[in-house]
Symmetry: C2
Subunit: 443 residues, 2 copies
Amino acid sequence: MKPLHTLSATEALSLLTARHITSEALVQACIDQIQQYEPHIQAWQYWDAQAALRAARASDAARAAGQAIGKLHGLPIAIKDNMDTADMPTTYGSALYANHQPQRDATVVAMLRAEGAIILGKTVCTEFAYFTPGATRNPHRICHTPGGSSSGSAAAVAAGMVPLTLGTQTNGSVIRPAAFCGVLGYKPAAGLIPREGILDTSHTLDQVGFFARTVDDLEWLAHCLNPALPVNTSLPMSALRIGVLQSDLLAHASPAILALLEATQEQLHQHVRAVTTVSLDTLHGLANQHHRTIMQAEMAQALAHEREIASDHQPLSHALCELMDAGAATTAVAYLDALRAREPLAQRIAQLLEPCDVLLMPSTPGAAPEGLSSTGSPIFCSMVSLLGWPAVHVPLGEDAQGLPLGLQLVVRPGHEIALAGAARLLMQCAQREEGAPIAAMAY
Amino acid sequence: MKPLHTLSATEALSLLTARHITSEALVQACIDQIQQYEPHIQAWQYWDAQAALRAARASDAARAAGQAIGKLHGLPIAIKDNMDTADMPTTYGSALYANHQPQRDATVVAMLRAEGAIILGKTVCTEFAYFTPGATRNPHRICHTPGGSSSGSAAAVAAGMVPLTLGTQTNGSVIRPAAFCGVLGYKPAAGLIPREGILDTSHTLDQVGFFARTVDDLEWLAHCLNPALPVNTSLPMSALRIGVLQSDLLAHASPAILALLEATQEQLHQHVRAVTTVSLDTLHGLANQHHRTIMQAEMAQALAHEREIASDHQPLSHALCELMDAGAATTAVAYLDALRAREPLAQRIAQLLEPCDVLLMPSTPGAAPEGLSSTGSPIFCSMVSLLGWPAVHVPLGEDAQGLPLGLQLVVRPGHEIALAGAARLLMQCAQREEGAPIAAMAY
């Protein structure tokens, strides 16, 4: 059998159901991996090995006693630290909340517990899920950013510390760290996963997402949190129509990403019904502009209290203050212009996508940049966050430095089966039938 | 039989169904009334007697031929001129759109036609459904305002020109003209009546409403446009719990309105289970402030194009420019603060209303003011528009000058049966079992 910490969530759940493994052993394997690598990676804001092991033993006992068990029974999961947990502190990535203990679980956390998941801990989140990094490093090269804002959630999955984590995306906070850390990241369509008890930074844009090493795991978790989302899907590849992004913003992609986009496009030709180009031209940049206007205004409003309670001793970051200043200077009319432009823009883009099932595009301009002071550019994520459409990052290879490279798949809401099908196909093309590899951590 | 133009909509529909009257005769009676009084009242922006009579004859023929007929078959109805009609011009109350001919019916207009209603014409609306009056006069005293912005819709029903009209309310545009013209006005809960094809002035606050002379008519029309809204309801009066508004803003009510509120309260004691006071204190004024912030920002954004195309020759009114300037000066953060305050405020007010089924409060500070340059104060309507709750104006009497006086009933969404029950009870208390009287027009 594979080492337990390398199992995917669905593999682990099958083995748990068959009683070939115990939750305690599985959780212990995750803990061992965390204990070995956490000093280097710092993916965890909070975790409690003893509490997790107690919960795992209780889970095993419940199963042995034939008690009702949930869809995630005994599976360790980690939660981004912008989601409230009643039994663990929640810092929202800010020193202002260093000692903050929520009274109630976020709805998603309560749902996970109800399905029997073991909440292993809280993963590091950038300051208020915006731009300013926490301590987390990229498991592939610790002098490179893991991306953000769901930095710890992506890094923990990449490092084999836990098979499944939750994150959020307002701009690029799921897709980008997934890309930099070389794992699968999935942001379901806006509004499908409950946000109660999650830090509200932008009512219009905040969306919940997931990190995993297989497409099955992403589908399963999404289905557990919203039964309307499809699970165990399969799609004849020969029916799939892939659209490849063409837009002004591709000028920002690195040669490595452009080469990957082209190579992938050529590989796909052999498998699918059609590969065509989807020209968004200036619509892409326009979407990013509207996204910026909405995000800065909503974050200025949502975090006004945090700015008030900040002090010289515990200041907000310069980047966040700058964003909030821009938000404070935004007029209601400019904000509403951007908000009202969203629906017609979505309709135009949907129309351009009509001949395709799935849009293939970069997730990031390139591999994870060196340095830990920035989380990298969200330029290829903002449009999808604005539209609120489902998106998956698929890890496809490494650059010469060993840093992960991959691409983003996007669909219109309701086309989740095509999204999962295309993601599986890309994984196969990259000879990754068994999922994204765990980072080779030779520190 | 009563003169046909004095029939309520439901009376007329019964007689049409029984073939005791024809649609042609009914429409002709309305046309006669319009022809006699329109020169004084000017309720109509556009109407077409010949087209209406043709439609009525076709309606009669369809009925005689046993064809499928709708819930409003053969009934004349008028539409506020901010709702698009494919066969009649639509001016939105502005000279900028004097010759505007929409291509499509607004959804509500299409729904009325599908139910067999005869669209008699378009009723005068203030400039872009805001403050600056059109030509309409109060049928009770033509030197007094009819209120606005649904000026013509209220005046036409009060003058017996048509039994049923559609209007909209963003601030006080249904309840206030109903009060000044002495008819029933009903604004269902926000979001229940489709707004496609109606001038968008404030996405958050725009709501559709109706004018009639009986509660039955209001219920029937609401049900025709949204089958989820109850119809033919009845409620044992002995079960009803009435709350009477207490708030800082009552200082703005005239002695006549305060006396009516007190007298009505005393009358109600004899009929209902309980009459209590509901103290909103400063919440009422706070709601009005939030309403103002949202309305000015959204109108500045929604009417920006109109301001652009306005000219010295065809200017926007001073009042509208002032509002839009205030809207343009509103920051996104202030706007979002107001928007986000709405839900918790609604929850607090709902909690205060918990011991009651219906809230009784003024509709307006007093009877219709003299003069045609203003449509009067919406001070007692803004809160309900902000909350988006169902409200009815009930005409209850006249002041010494013969101008109508009445009161407003408000419920939480979903309590429409109590709202109709309370409205019927108030009509009975005012000895108006047969509905609001048609204005005595001695011009």
